[in-house]
């Protein structure tokens, strides 16, 4: 069972994840239409690239944009949540060990203590995000059950991984939960709004090109994100 899950099933998961994302990226770019979008994408590669990079960069950095600066508390919570989500699974000792055992790859890792802190931070900020959804009328009105489902799906691998790593409760149960929920999360990414793991870059690049090429090429330094 364990071998099947961490063998063929894992491979299928990775294939769906990478192929799914690739297909979506290709479809997105192919669906851009200079006439319908009213952006001369090809005509101004330099302006377009500058605009895209500036648009991505300003929003990738905490407090890098007017929007982030307008909501400092949310920004802090948002960045902690996302940093934890990305850094923990990628550089966890437990994951690196598997890479080493199976393919002999030396993967960089972060200290266990930091991984624990980030995992707890992901869970705490997720709770905060859920509370925000309930508490703020302007967020509540656009929140759907699907939003909570995705939040749960995102946090479950962290919660279960934490339980397993610290051997709280039934190790076997939590370990299986961790692996399966992690796979479910990876598979969900290309098919849900979690697609934003790459969609963010595409969408920000697009609006950045729009402003770089068309709507702000007259402004010194482009649009002041």
């Amino acid at each position: 069972m364990y071998n099947f899950i961490t063998g063929p099933l894992l491979w299928i998961t990775f294939i769906i994840f990478f192929v799914g994302l690739t297909v979506r990226v290709v479809l997105y770019i192919r669906g851009l239409d200079w006439r319908l979008d009213r952006v001369a994408y090809r005509k101004y590669p330099t302006l377009g690239l500058k605009g895209a990079l500036s648009s991505i960069f300003h929003w990738l950095v905490p407090f890098g944009s007017h929007g982030w600066r307008a909501k400092p508390l949310y920004t802090i919570i948002f960045f902690i949540f996302h940093i934890g989500l990305v850094v923990t699974p990628l550089f966890l000792v437990g994951h690196a060990v598997i890479l080493k055992e199976r393919w002999g790859i030396n993967w960089p890792t972060i200290p266990m203590l930091l991984a624990d802190a980030l995992t707890i931070a992901v869970m705490v900020t997720a709770v905060f995000i859920a509370i925000r959804r309930i508490g703020l009328p302007e967020v509540r009105i656009i929140t759907t059950a699907y939003d909570y489902f995705l939040l749960l799906l995102t946090v479950l691998p962290f919660f279960s991984g934490f339980m397993a790593a610290h051997q709280f409760g039934d190790y076997v149960f939590w370990n299986y939960t961790h692996i399966l929920s992690g796979m479910a999360l990876l598979i969900a990414i290309p098919f849900t709004k979690l697609f934003h793991v790459v969609g963010y870059f595409l969408s920000r690049a697009q609006i950045g090109m729009d402003f770089g090429i068309k709507r702000a090429y007259k402004a010194k330094g482009g649009f002041a994100w």
Partner: protein, 468 residues
């Protein structure tokens, strides 16, 4: 598929149709007919299939429902943070639903879409600059307007505006003859004060071709005279076209993309016919947006630019002041608290923020210019953009929405608001009428004329004769 006599899916293309809709004062019958207007689902599906591509579909799907766009919307703020005014909510429940149901929506939904797209959004694009994904709901509302228009669900005044452009190539019933006569009349009227002033029509190869807003020949001909005086003062070699003089685009506000193309084509044809070195447009925001920023795409110009360099009036004026073509009398600089209204259409959407500040530096005594907050790219819409000023059905909604601009202006303590945009100018005039702030508002042209130093050779000669 029942359609009304006045409210239907066919755009106004003839004078008879136009007169019939105009005769229905306030659109009473028009809106009654709309209640019965059926949605042509097949046509809507075809539109979605042909025009709703990855950008908009991804925006709708990926929206994280985070609500960060809420505070960016002046309608949301002015309506005491009514959650139904959150931009994301507004677009998801309108266009979002149409896309989700692949066009299978009913009449009531289309009327809700219309009321939201024109009555709760001015397409100012401010929300787009606050979305972490860069989802521009103004762009989507503009797209939604196009879908609504093609289905006949368009405010009465917008249907008329689109018809005007289709028939007259102008947003009002101004014929080429009316236009040329107005120019001649204005040039004549100025002769006593400005001997030799001309409004040259259809001059080929001029340095500047000037385009206007049809309201000017129709209601404010003095604006044309003022433009002529300033070009005269600056010694410009300029002209106006007899055809293709109208720069505005109510068709853009209406979502009538075919009409947009026709209108812009008329201006571009004038450029190609007269071959000016460059084109200058009047103090209007949406005219600039329509003809300079979006227009090239409507007519399919791959470079996304008009056929000749096409600048906004503020760009020409800043240049004239910078190079000394027009000199300001230092004693006549403005010495009252002044603020400037940043027009969404050429500040947020064309990056001209520094140009208007440069003009302020020439015409306002240091210490008297006060910025609104927020400003520049992050300014709030005047409250009447996107055609909202002209739509009776949403007048009360607009008046509530204007509270944000009102409070911004009050906070500056300014006595004069300079509004180099017809729509902003109107909104601020109405704002004064509704809320009585005791402020004045103005375009740039009349202010500059009052302040400019007039060289001897341009002054009337009579004085010398009297002295002799």
């Amino acid at each position: 598929m029942p359609e009304g006599i006045l409210c239907n899916r066919t755009p106004i293309n003839t004078k008879e149709q136009l007169d019939a809709v105009l005769a229905d004062k306030g659109g009473k019958q028009y809106y009654q007919e709309m209640e019965q207007l059926e949605v042509d689902v097949e046509k809507l599906q075809k539109s979605l299939q042909d025009t709703c591509k990855s950008r908009i579909r991804t925006w709708l799907e990926m929206c994280a429902h985070c609500g960060l766009c809420a505070d960016s919307c002046f309608f949301y703020l002015a309506n005491k943070k009514d959650p139904q005014q959150v931009p994301s909510y507004k677009i998801l429940t309108t266009l979002g639903k149409i896309v989700e149901k692949n066009g299978n929506v009913d009449t009531a939904h289309m009327i809700y879409c219309m009321d939201t797209a024109w009555g709760k959004c001015t397409c100012c694009n401010r929300c787009g600059s606050f979305c972490p994904y860069g989802i521009d709901m103004g762009v989507m509302f503009s797209y939604l307007r196009g879908l609504c228009f093609s289905q006949g669900f368009v405010p009465w005044e917008m249907k008329i505006g689109s018809g005007m452009h289709r028939i007259f190539r102008a947003q009002m019933d101004v014929t080429p003859e009316d236009w040329v006569e107005t120019c001649e009349w204005m040039a004549e009227e100025q002769q006593d004060e400005w001997p030799g002033l001309e409004i040259p029509v259809d001059k080929e190869g001029a340095d500047i071709m000037y385009t206007v807003n049809a309201r000017e020949p129709k209601h404010y001909p003095e604006d044309i005279a003022e433009a002529a005086i300033l070009f005269h003062l600056a010694g410009e070699n300029w002209t106006v076209p007899s055809l293709g003089w109208e720069q505005t685009s109510l068709t853009m506000f209406a979502g009538d993309w075919e009409g947009c193309k026709l209108q812009v084509q008329s201006v571009y044809e004038a450029i190609e016919r007269l071959k000016p070195k460059r084109v200058v447009g009047t103090e209007c925001g949406h005219a600039h947006r329509g003809t300079v920023i979006e227009g090239p795409y409507w007519v399919g110009r791959e470079d996304g630019r008009p056929p000749a360099p096409y600048i906004h009036y503020v760009e020409w004026l800043a240049e004239a002041l910078r190079t000394g073509k027009i000199k300001i009398d230092p004693a006549k600089k403005l010495k009252i608290p002044v603020t400037i209204q940043d027009s969404c259409n050429y500040i947020r959407n064309h990056g001209l923020k520094d140009i208007t500040r440069e003009i302020m530096s020439y015409i306002v005594e240091p210490g008297y210019f006060i910025e609104m907050y927020p400003n520049k790219e992050y300014n709030f819409c005047c409250g009447g953009g996107g055609g909202l000023n002209g739509i009776g059905r949403y007048r009360q909604w607009r008046n509530v929405g204007m509270k944000v601009k009102r409070d911004q202006i009050i906070a500056t303590g300014a006595k004069l608001v300079i509004a180099p945009c017809h729509n902003c100018w109107d909104a601020i005039r109405d704002l004064e009428e509704v809320y009585e702030l005791g402020i004045k508002w103005s375009f740039l042209k009349p202010l500059i004329i009052k302040m400019a130093i007039i060289p001897e050779h341009l002054k009337p000669q009579e004085e010398e004769e009297e002295e002799e």
